[in-house]
């Protein structure tokens, strides 16, 4: 039973963010993804589907959209007498303090951790999207009698997105870990999902801070690989690192493969998000849609090929959209052409426009732009 044993902690402090314009007014956690989700929906749903019913989110900056999205937590079933979603914003408004590492912010919120009764904490980041059952991870952790378990994934270095490198010995113990720029020769990367006892987390936070360390993984864990039993759990499902603009585009386009769509959204559990009461998508007389995903509330009169269309988008007659991502409530005017474009929310493309990015560097239009 995960419910009384494990709590979730989603760490948004200094999340790697090279998402450029997409995070101009929001944190990475609330970057829209996959037609109707925000990045944080994946980790939240994974926790809930794994039986975790108490989740805290360490918010850091630009978290208005986060508060709006998460609300009371009821869309993830985290709004019951015995469950809950806790948003832990920074405790200080001093800019100096805000810049400090996650250890400092965890320390500031230590009351939340000390008051909990759960034996384990699953720590995770929001920019890692996958559909994982965490129960076997905790079982593995107990079986190995590990101090810390890192969920790892086989990695091909050509894939976009930045990730930490992990090296295991034959017994599955982590012997080396490096940040993404390290030269460690390994085919494993960290999914930034870590399991440890709650007491150990508190201990690490206090002792590392006392030694002048700032970051949980980079300092508290990576400098203690010889003192702690850190084990690697290999996850082999689909996983995307969404922390650069290139990786955002790449992982969005991956959803246009039916096998990825089925795995990421359905197995082992569904991904939950804030419910909007949009009607089903409407395809009118001239619609031509292929190889795309389309969300509810859309009205499609034009052509959509190989694209991701979010909720409430209107594609007018004669418009042709290729290889693009159109976020919520976008409008693409008559006879406009879009190729390799990412339109943030509420962007309006007037009629007859021709907008082209390139495969490696998609054109990005900021929120509410009119072109």
């Amino acid at each position: 039973m995960m419910k009384n044993k494990v709590m979730g902690l989603i760490n948004l402090i200094h999340e790697p963010d090279e998402l450029e314009g997409l995070t101009a007014n929001r944190c990475p956690a609330t970057v829209p993804f996959g037609g109707r989700y925000r990045l944080i929906d994946f980790v939240l749903s994974n926790m809930v589907n794994s039986g975790i019913s108490r989740v805290a989110v360490l918010a850091h900056t630009k978290y208005r959209s986060l508060m709006d999205h998460l609300g009371s937590g009821k869309h993830w079933d985290l709004h019951n007498r015995q469950s809950g979603l806790f948003i832990l914003p920074p405790t200080s408004d001093d800019a100096q303090d805000l810049r400090r590492g996650d250890l400092y912010h965890m320390f500031q919120n230590r009351d939340y951790l000390t008051r909990s009764h759960h034996e384990y904490v699953v720590l995770a980041r929001s920019h890692v999207i996958c559909n994982i059952d965490l129960e076997p991870v905790v079982a593995f952790h107990e079986q190995q009698q590990a101090d810390i378990t890192v969920v790892c994934k086989k990695h091909s270095p050509s894939l976009p997105g930045k990730s930490r490198k992990v090296q295991l010995n034959s017994a599955g113990r982590v012997v080396a870990m490096q940040d993404h720029y390290g030269r460690l020769n390994t085919d494993l990367m960290s999914t930034e999902i870590y399991v440890m006892r709650r007491e150990l987390l508190l201990e690490l936070v206090e002792s590392s801070l006392a030694q002048g360390q700032e970051h949980l993984v980079r300092h508290a864990i990576m400098t203690r690989l010889d003192q702690l039993n850190v084990y690697g759990y290999i996850y082999d499902g689909y996983l995307g690192m969404v922390n650069t603009l290139e990786s955002y585009y790449y992982n969005s386009m991956q959803l246009l493969r039916a096998d990825v769509w089925k795995e990421l959204f359905f197995r082992p559990g569904p991904i939950y998000t804030k419910v909007k009461d949009e009607p089903p998508a409407r395809y009118l007389e001239g619609a031509k849609v292929s190889g795309s995903i389309v969300a509810n509330g859309c009205v499609i009169e034009g052509t959509v090929i190989n694209s991701v269309i979010f909720r409430g988008v209107h594609v007018r007659k004669g418009a042709i959209i290729r290889n693009s991502i159109i976020m919520q409530n976008g409008v693409v005017g008559e006879n406009s052409m879009l190729d390799y474009a990412i339109l943030d929310k509420d962007v309006v493309i007037e009629q007859g426009r021709d907008i082209r990015g390139a495969a490696g560097s998609p054109f990005v239009a900021g929120k509410r732009k009119i072109i």
Binding site: G34, G35, R36, Y37, K74, L256, A258, W261, K262, F265, F266, P270, I271, Y272, T273, V275, D277, E278, P279, P280, A281, R282, Y283, L284, E285, G286, A287, K288, V289, S290, G291, S292, I293, V294, A295, N296, G297, V299, V308, I309, F310
Partner: protein, 388 residues
Amino acid sequence: MGRKEMVAMLLAGGEGKRLGVLTKDLAKPAVYFGGKYRIIDFTLSNCAHSGIDTVGVLTQYQPLDLNRYLGIGSPWGLDRRDGGMAILPPFVKQKGGAWYKGTANAIYQNMGFIDRYDPEYVLVISGDHIYQMDYEKMLDHHKKTGAEVTIAGIEVPWKEASRFGVMHCDDEDRITAFEEKPKVPTSNTASMGIYIFSWHVLQRYLIRDEANRHSSNDFGKDILPAMLKDGLNMFVYPFKGYWKDVGTIESLWEANMDLLDDHPALDLTDPEWRIYSVSPNRPAQYIAPSSRIVSSIVNEGCLIEGDVHRSVLFYGVQTGIDSYVRESVVMPNARIGRGVRLYRTIVGDGAVIADGVTIGHPEHGGVTVVGSDEFIASYKTLLEVEPS
């Protein structure tokens, strides 16, 4: 407990016999409609938008799915501290207790529920119709005319008038006569089955009607005629807009097809009047390179590999390569195999149509229905439902 100006009583016990296999295990208000909704979503959303926060839902026939769907009313904003939604099934009393004998009897048996809120007015509606209506405006009309009873009325085509209860009224909308399903209609103002009563008046008539052993305890047949006979102030609230009784296979199919016009009479996109429903939590629909979808509405979680033309697809439907779905309604999680041809077919939720099956005929014939969770290996096993 706080006093409420108006309490809504939603009659949701309908068996929906004429919907055949679609209501075999399902109360009529829980039948799927419009790619995303259940029929009852429309009346519940109307309540939500009209500022009504106390709704009694009277259930009787096959309540299991319906009850589970309604839950505590959260999707419609009816999970309230005061009022909110209450599901009211028939119950056992010290001296017997009984099924709901008729629509009026259902309200009679729950007079205690209404009295708790001590309302001025009671709105009686049913979960059988598709429409968007502001009940608050109807209440304003009720107050303005000084009515004791207000019945929402809509003009229907003359040739269809005999299917409805029709009302005659004078120039000031005062009801002068009432006919239930007349053979030769002399008015085309049909009752929409939406009533506002001043509660103390209705209470009196419910008690009187219950005492009458010969009564069928029905609003249309007993209560309203009795009120008219006694000369109560009864007015029509004239409604203009889309309203459809989806009581038959044909009308359910038609109402779904009505949504496919470029400018449908029923506007599901109106941001001020969203129809709320329980979210199935599915990802954006996946449209494969091999598919072509035209003049259709498709919900979340669908995986479409075939062609879809003038059809309504609910959440989680999958269609295989080379399949062709035309003028059909495919309910949640149904699987349409490769090379399947569907013409004018309603496919129940969870049904599976095996590869290569053809149902219906491209040129002629009525609507064919496949029941929930059925497996169709070949189409000869199907009974065609004749148009009613």
